[in-house]
Symmetry: C2
Subunit: 339 residues, 2 copies
């Protein structure tokens, strides 16, 4: 990406092993993320450009001499952040705060939207898949690299509990996966705030019990009507706009929690006083999806959840720029790239 | 209180039973709260004035016909908010969000800084004490009406855990009780941010292991030095200023939590982005001290905690205005009123 609305497919130097803890992965599936749309709409022009993509599945081509947990030929899924797996934060399952980890792409490292990636700290980062690269579950397994784990994180941080009310702000892929996660954790009523017919249909299929298509104060009022005037126990904020955060805290019941996973676009959190008087917890951040892979993968492999349904368009590497455009225009929920 | 710096002792109509769920309590001990200093410094002049005081112990003089759990002659402690004890929120221990509860004082109800109080919903509100009104533990028992329970709430919401690092922002009575609470919950390192010699001495007596007297960015840097560069797992925000909140989130470790109990003076919560990237939880609000009385009272009665040491001045009803002045000038940590 060279700037807003300027995505180019270019040949870059081949990815290669640099450190003994690296793995070289040939990408077989990748995708475009809702969070990629933030720079797609706002990035200042750059001569160097940024490599893009942080969600991918691929085949290990070679490993550095210190790598132990994956080997040549393994099909692996990568989380959207790489991590050592051993530091204080990784040990407690917060790999997105790894003391030695980092993020794909940018100017230093390969991105997932490319043919091959040098994966640092491969043992702490990659997870091997027990299926072949053309298995029908590839789309759902690919969501473990970000959106399904991120929806799960939102639900956990929003403290979703069996029999309680969850609400999801944002009908993108993460919000839709948040519906899956809320249902999986036992929420009885799941309210989706969204306006696009295709996304609403998918939300219902995933378990949403109520749809609220109003915006702002009208949305808050409607959620309160649906919850006996009290609001939702758990609110999953899956957008990151100031307005969506205001809605999220506005629909949270006293004593409830907002789990935020949308990258915040404002520097402050609104409603400091109402959230205080209501003892509302605000939690969340970049999901440690690496920690959730082992928990969520059996549900995918055994067909209990189908997050791969969020992919409603498949493209190849040459058409990635049009994939960005389609997602930005809300023509597609989420675009998968096949190599 | 008729306005900023305008506290008067006046005769008002006698408190009396109005509802069958009321109790009439003759106050024996009350106190001035750090939160009373917010209006003391900012209240617009008012012709009617506000009755003040939300922390008191007293003797039940009479009860309405539906009151079951307290009787005439009982010595009782009141939490800083009254509550029915039966609604959804009370049942889950969040009495400060009681659907039928409310707050002492103002223009409608008696305040604790007076000779007698009509207590609504007495069964859900009052807790009987197993000692007489002149028992040596009165100061510590009085803190169960607010500051000790509030410090405990901050520690719980900040997720204080055995062996971990807690930090307390604010060296007022609540912050000092927060030190007690953090130690009681097993924190190994307890860092007090404060600057007043008398308060620091008390913090150390209560269990603080480190004192940070810097402000702002220098305070953040110092706490990081004391915690291997990582910050505290749990931060108790016991002030409510924008600056103190910025410090609180600035010293919290990734994955940690801020338990805020200082009444927020700003409309937004700062650092939306750093707290997001660090998965820092922001929680807290008005403490449901009614829920904590039964847990904390044995520790007071058996001498394991001495929160009453926060009272460093005792006054009578006529000298309450000077008590406000003394607390506002930081001459006194907290003023107790004996009737």
């Amino acid at each position: 990406m060279y700037g807003a609305h300027d995505v180019r497919v270019e040949t870059v130097p081949d990815a290669r092993i640099v450190e003994p803890t690296d793995a070289l992965v040939r990408v077989t599936r990748a995708c475009i993320c809702g969070s990629d749309l933030w720079p797609y709409n706002s990035m200042a022009p750059s001569a160097a450009g940024n490599r893009m993509g942080h969600e991918f599945i691929g085949v290990v081509e070679s490993i550095g001499r210190d790598v132990r947990t994956v080997k040549k030929g393994d099909l692996v899924v990568a989380p959207f952040a790489w991590s050592d797996g051993t530091c204080e934060f990784c040990q407690q399952g917060l790999q997105t705060s790894c003391l030695h980890g980092g993020w794909w792409g940018g100017t230093e490292l390969d991105g997932g939207q490319g043919e091959a990636v040098r994966v640092p700290l491969a043992d702490g980062t990659l997870v091997a898949l027990p299926v072949g690269p053309d298995h029908a579950l590839m789309p759902s397994l690919l969501t473990l690299s970000d959106v399904m784990g991120t929806g799960h994180h939102a639900a956990l941080r929003a403290n979703v509990r069996p029999g309680k009310v969850a609400a999801v702000v944002g009908d993108g892929a993460v919000g839709l996966c948040g519906v899956i996660a809320a249902r999986r954790l036992g929420a009885e009523q799941i309210i989706m705030l969204g306006r696009h017919a295709d996304r609403i249909a998918l939300a219902r299929r995933f378990g949403a019990t109520d749809i609220v298509s109003e915006r702002g104060d009208a949305a808050i009022e409607r959620v309160r009507e649906l919850t006996g005037g009290l609001g939702a126990h758990s609110v999953l904020e899956c957008v990151g706009h100031g307005e969506s955060m205001r809605t999220a805290v506005g629909i949270t019941r006293a004593g409830g929690a907002v789990g935020r996973v949308g990258v915040p676009q404002e520097t402050t959190i609104p409603n400091a006083q109402p959230t205080f008087y209501g003892n509302i917890t605000i939690a969340g951040g970049p999901a440690p999806v690496r920690a959730y892979m082992h928990e969520l993968m059996p549900d995918v492999l055994e067909g209990r959840i189908e997050p791969g349904l969020v992919f409603d368009r498949v493209t190849n590497i040459d058409s990635v720029p049009d994939g960005y455009r389609a997602m930005n225009d809300r023509e597609a929920i989420k675009v998968m790239i096949e190599f």
